[in-house]
């Protein structure tokens, strides 16, 4: 890219620098808008298709702007296949997985961030390595394992399975948050007569709360979005929300208007949740990455 030699205008550059000519900014802004439009188009088109009358979706020359507003597609999406059942199941699975993941993950994160013990490094390497195992590769033995445990087609079986990716994630992320809390605070509390546990509950825990909330929400999103295991380990009658959307075909082929309405119902709550926590997560995940 043949860039105009401009000083970067990142955050934290004092306002003392001379204002740059507007001309160079204009070019960059246009490029930025192009990125905005291109990257945003799929999201826009989903919303647009969801709210416009279904007959306008089969227009060979579709208008780029919304042609009207109707909720019919949403009604139709709910009528084609049971929607609330799958959503309820997804909720049960995701919430349970996150609850277990946070409690168990918290204990483990404490162990590897606040204790010196033999084998600590091996545990850290192990937990990191586990995160790298591709889920798809594990589906065959997991399917057979659940078969043996008689947990096939049960939500409990899916919950156990989801812990494979939620648990390493929560341990590692919470560890990142704990490490950022100075040990001196705990030590000071202990000097003042707190027990070790007391110091943790009174000092560390309150500081950790935002990080824990962010980790929980993010873990919830991961569990909610999972498709392959849900598809494989539950039968059609017990499907979860993602499988419901993935199977969105009727006898007449795919009906895109209700499908986009279904997609909107699935995506909007998740994206909103995501917006709430992503900043916190990004900070936690990349803490120290630059200091390498």
């Amino acid at each position: 890219m043949d860039a105009v030699a401009t000083a970067g205008s990142g955050a934290g550059r004092g306002r003392g620098s001379t204002p740059r000519p507007r001309r160079s900014k204009l070019g960059w802004n246009l490029l930025g808008l192009l990125v905005f439009l291109t990257a945003g188009f799929p999201v826009y088109w989903m919303l647009n298709t969801a709210i416009k009358p279904a007959k306008d979706t089969i227009d060979p020359d579709p208008s780029l702007l919304p042609t009207g507003f109707t909720l019919d597609n949403f009604r139709r999406a709910l009528a084609i296949a049971d929607f609330w059942g799958p959503v309820g199941r997804s909720l049960i699975v995701s919430l349970t997985v996150v609850a277990i993941g946070i409690v168990v993950g918290m204990l483990a994160a404490l162990a590897i961030s606040r204790f010196a013990f033999r084998g600590r490094k091996i545990v850290i390497v192990g937990i990191l390595a586990v995160q790298m195992v591709p889920l798809v590769a594990m589906i065959i033995p997991i399917f057979l394992l659940l078969n043996d445990l008689e947990q096939y087609d049960k939500l409990s079986g899916l919950i156990i399975t989801y812990l494979t990716f939620i648990l390493p994630f929560t341990v590692w992320t919470l560890r990142g948050f704990i490490v950022n809390i100075p040990k001196e605070l705990e030590e000071a509390a202990m000097v003042d007569g707190c027990s070790r546990t007391g110091a943790f509950i009174r000092v560390v825990f309150p500081l950790l709360a935002p990080g824990m909330v962010a980790t929980s929400v993010y873990g919830f999103i991961q569990a909610w979005n999972e498709y392959l295991y849900a598809l494989m380990l539950l039968s059609q009658k017990n499907q979860t929300a993602t499988v419901w959307l993935g199977n969105f075909t009727t006898k007449h082929g795919t009906e895109y208007a209700p499908m986009m309405a279904g997609a909107t119902m699935m995506a909007v709550p998740i994206v909103v949740l995501f917006l709430l926590v992503q900043r916190k997560m990004a900070a936690g995940l990349t803490a120290g990455a630059v200091k390498g």
Partner: protein
């Protein structure tokens, strides 16, 4: 990691001295608060137990499966699972189709990673140069596309590229000399996989941009200034100052992307309505197909294992980087 040593002003870090001789104690203890030696293991126990059950055991099972004969009759217990040594592997490796799938997977993953990283880097650099309101707009879109469930994104792309009523054919046909009305993007494997690659990249770029943007704020402005005073152009500054400082993040993101893009499954699966054609098969779908469509669980496991082995090198790089980061305490 010294970025741009040639251009740094007088602040040179002191040369590394030899470490002072260690005090003569038999068991050097790190200055870390440590309770009883049993406490950390007690804290770790539930986590390790769960992981052993849901990951350790299946991993072992994956290996043993790949060395057995295991099909429908073994699944229902009509026949014992006999050990067959490396028969499954020789069966898989001797299959011409398998090698096609391997090459296709590598090309697909490499393409996705390169596009993701390059686009991500360019957008991150662009965001440093735009006005605040543009930055906000782009960030909103990035987070929205990042937060979109993969299945939702896949169905949306399916609709965008629909042969008859997809908006993309309609838009592209408006260009002079282009006629894509009714064009089926999934009639050929390469074209269809290109669409799927676009979907993967679209979903992966936000994470890269946001992480790199965070990294870019850590690049000291005075280093860039100094490089510029020394006569470096924009490219020179990027090449000799920005890149070296961002290197750990770039290594981490690239390895993660490789791992994710080698593991692409739902995108292909849902795009092809649950039955990917032969020219759409990647290692993941191929292994799934072998196990759950052909019902040869053993061969499916062998393919999955080969996939894992292919990724081990990348995983090792990622682990090293993470340990470097993780041990800064």
């Amino acid at each position: 990691m010294s970025a741009a040593d040639t251009t740094t002003p007088a602040k040179v870090p002191p040369p590394r001295q030899a470490p002072p001789p260690a005090p003569v104690t038999k068991y050097p203890r790190r200055a870390r608060t440590s309770g009883g030696s049993a406490t950390p293991w007690l804290l770790l126990a539930p986590c390790l137990l769960i992981l052993a059950l849901v990951l350790g055991y299946p991993l072992v099972r994956l290996v043993t499966l790949s060395l057995q004969k295991f099909g429908q009759s073994q699944l229902w217990g009509f026949q014992p699972a006999d050990w067959v040594g490396f028969d499954n592997f020789s069966g898989v490796l001797g299959d011409g189709e398998f090698w096609q799938v391997v090459v296709r997977t590598i090309v697909f993953a490499a393409g996705s990673v390169v596009f993701t990283m390059v686009l991500g880097m360019l957008i991150a650099l662009l965001l440093q140069r735009v006005s605040g309101w543009v930055k906000t707009l782009v960030n909103i879109v990035l987070v929205a596309s990042w937060g979109m469930p993969i299945i939702v994104a896949t169905t949306v792309f399916k609709w965008l590229f629909d042969a008859d009523y997809g908006i993309l054919n309609a838009l592209l046909s408006k260009l002079p000399g282009v006629d894509l009305i009714g064009h089926n993007w999934f009639a050929s494997g390469p074209q269809g996989l290109a669409v799927i690659m676009l979907l993967v990249v679209w979903g992966a770029v936000p994470f890269v941009v946001i992480t790199l943007s965070a990294g870019l704020t850590q690049v000291p402005a005075e280093l860039e200034e100094a490089a510029r005073l020394d006569g470096a152009g924009s490219w020179g500054v990027f090449r000799h100052v920005t890149l070296p400082i961002l290197k750990p993040i770039i290594v981490m993101l690239t390895t993660l992307s490789v791992i994710w893009d080698m593991g692409v499954f739902p995108q292909v699966f849902v795009m092809r309505n649950g039955h990917p054609e032969q020219e759409f098969q990647l290692l993941t779908t191929y292994s799934y197909d072998r196990a759950f469509v052909v019902n040869d669980y053993a061969q499916g496991s062998a393919i999955a294992l080969i996939t894992v082995v292919l990724m081990l090198g990348v995983v090792a790089v990622y682990m090293r980087q993470m340990l470097k980061i993780g041990e800064v305490e």
